[in-house]
């Protein structure tokens, strides 16, 4: 059903978006695809920064004499941080892959390939700390 629905949309896209655009359009589309494919990474970085900031605030405003409360808040921040990171990562990767698929279907093959390469880099960067931990621990 989905495939049948998406066909007219794609046809429409074909009519509105030229397969071979001007240089400006190419440049715009490359920025777009970079922004899209790097989204999982910078969104995770943003969540990481927020989590770090919240933990610092937790430690700053709740004194050591109230450590149990400090720890409970820390656990809450960590749980929420991990869950939101998983959700954001899943959604952003799925969205990027969908867009890459659409680009490929409308004939923007090289942009789609760039998107895929960037996504592969994102996956590598994500796994890099785990691999580094094997050698530097």
């Amino acid at each position: 059903m989905k495939r049948l629905k998406s066909e007219p949309e794609n046809k429409q896209s074909n009519t509105t978006l030229p397969i071979t655009g001007t240089k400006n359009e190419d440049r715009r589309s490359i920025w777009y695809i970079l922004l899209l494919s790097l989204a999982p990474l910078y969104l995770l970085a943003m969540i990481g920064a927020i989590v770090l900031a919240l933990v610092m605030l937790d430690r700053h405003f709740i004194s050591l004499t109230n450590f149990l409360l400090q720890q409970k808040i820390f656990i809450l921040i960590m749980i929420l941080g991990v869950i939101s990171a998983i959700i954001v990562y899943a959604i952003s990767v799925r969205y990027a892959l969908k867009k890459i698929e659409v680009l490929r279907q409308i004939g923007h093959t090289w942009q789609a390939n760039v998107g895929l390469i960037v996504l592969a880099m994102v996956a590598s960067i994500l796994i890099l700390p785990v691999i580094l931990a094997l050698f530097f621990h």
């Binding site: 933990v55 450590f67 720890q71 820390f74 990171a85 998983i86 895929l116 994102v122 996956a123 796994i127």
Partner: protein, 320 residues
């Protein structure tokens, strides 16, 4: 409609696997860090009255961060039956334990005329909940105990103040004692049983095949408690204790803290001019089991050490 190319399928799989591994790594690291940093304290089930000793409950504050700590002051018993606190030993238990850990040895020391201040270090027993510092934060607890003995409100005012203070630390308590003695000259002599030389190496040994989680655990612990466990290195400060004497005890069959730790610590301690270091490798003893395996010899050696090194004749009164 064009079929999804193989490259896209591979990259999708790569994204899923790397995401799963990364989140698994983070989750495990957080969990391990939480367990290492703080565990619910073990309840105290015995008191010094169990082995027939007189004692008083004491409370005092840790030095610098002012956490409320609890302990027992057990006066030494002189041959004529009188009580004394002239020589007082601060007893520091190991990880996830409490001041009742070695009550039998405390009793043996007290019966030999050596008073014992058995303390619950932070996050343990009845002391205030706080993150474990692998011995680093806990040094403030020992320093707080020294302050208490020197200027606090002692529960036996008629006995006066201690003239010589020593320390006896077990496992991570030994590391805390090394740190404390390195900066507090009022601690005249220490006995440390099974301390590690560096927490980083101890973690590597303890994590074993799961060593990959060490960096993540260290980072998370640093976020939670503000300490990098890799920087806890008693081996770097033990030389500062000289010329005050250090007695290192280690079980030869210890698989938690390997006997090589004692060698490392002893070598570092002996490097200082005027160092006075004794070592005792107890055959067949596992981690912090020497006092159970060879109790009488253990007590005899400790009593001889403290009676010699905490000689109240040579010590100047420290209560000022």
């Amino acid at each position: 409609m064009a079929k999804t190319p193989r490259s896209q399928q591979i990259i999708t799989g790569f994204l899923i696997i790397s995401g799963l591994l990364a989140f698994l790594y983070v989750s495990v690291s957080i969990t391990v860090a939480l367990v290492i940093t703080y565990r619910p304290p073990k309840p105290i089930t015995r008191t010094p009255s169990s082995p027939g000793l007189v004692y008083r409950d004491v409370t005092f504050l840790s030095r610098e961060d002012h956490l409320l700590l609890r302990g027992w002051l057990i006066p030494g018993i002189l041959p004529n039956g009188h009580l004394t606190v002239e020589r007082t030993v601060i007893q520091v238990h190991g990880e996830n334990s409490n001041r009742a850990m070695v009550l039998n040895i405390d009793a043996a020391l007290a019966r030999q005329g050596i008073a014992v201040l058995a303390i619950d270090s932070r996050g343990n027993g009845e002391s205030a909940p706080a993150p474990s510092g692998g011995g680093y934060f806990e040094q403030c607890d020992i320093l707080g105990a020294v302050d208490f003995l020197r200027s606090g409100s002692l529960p036996y005012p008629e006995l006066g103040r201690p003239k010589a203070i020593g320390g006896w630390g077990i496992s991570v308590g030994g590391d805390a004692l090394i740190y404390a003695a390195a900066q507090e000259p009022a601690i005249k002599a220490i006995v440390v049983d099974s301390p590690y030389a560096t927490l980083g190496e101890y973690m590597e040994h303890a994590f074993g095949p799961y060593f990959i989680f060490i960096p993540g655990t260290r980072f998370t612990s640093m976020m939670l408690s503000g300490i990098d466990y890799g920087s806890v290195r008693p081996v770097d400060v033990i030389a500062k204790i000289a010329p005050r004497p250090v007695f290192l005890i280690q079980g030869a069959a210890d698989t938690d803290v390997l006997p090589s730790n004692m060698v490392e610590l002893a070598t570092a301690a002996e490097a200082a001019p005027g160092a006075h270091v004794q070592t005792w490798l107890v055959p067949h003893a596992h981690h912090i089991q020497a006092f159970n395996l060879v109790r009488n010899t253990y007590v005899d050696r400790m009593v001889t050490f403290f009676k010699t090194e905490l000689s109240t004749e040579s010590s100047t009164a420290i209560a000022k």
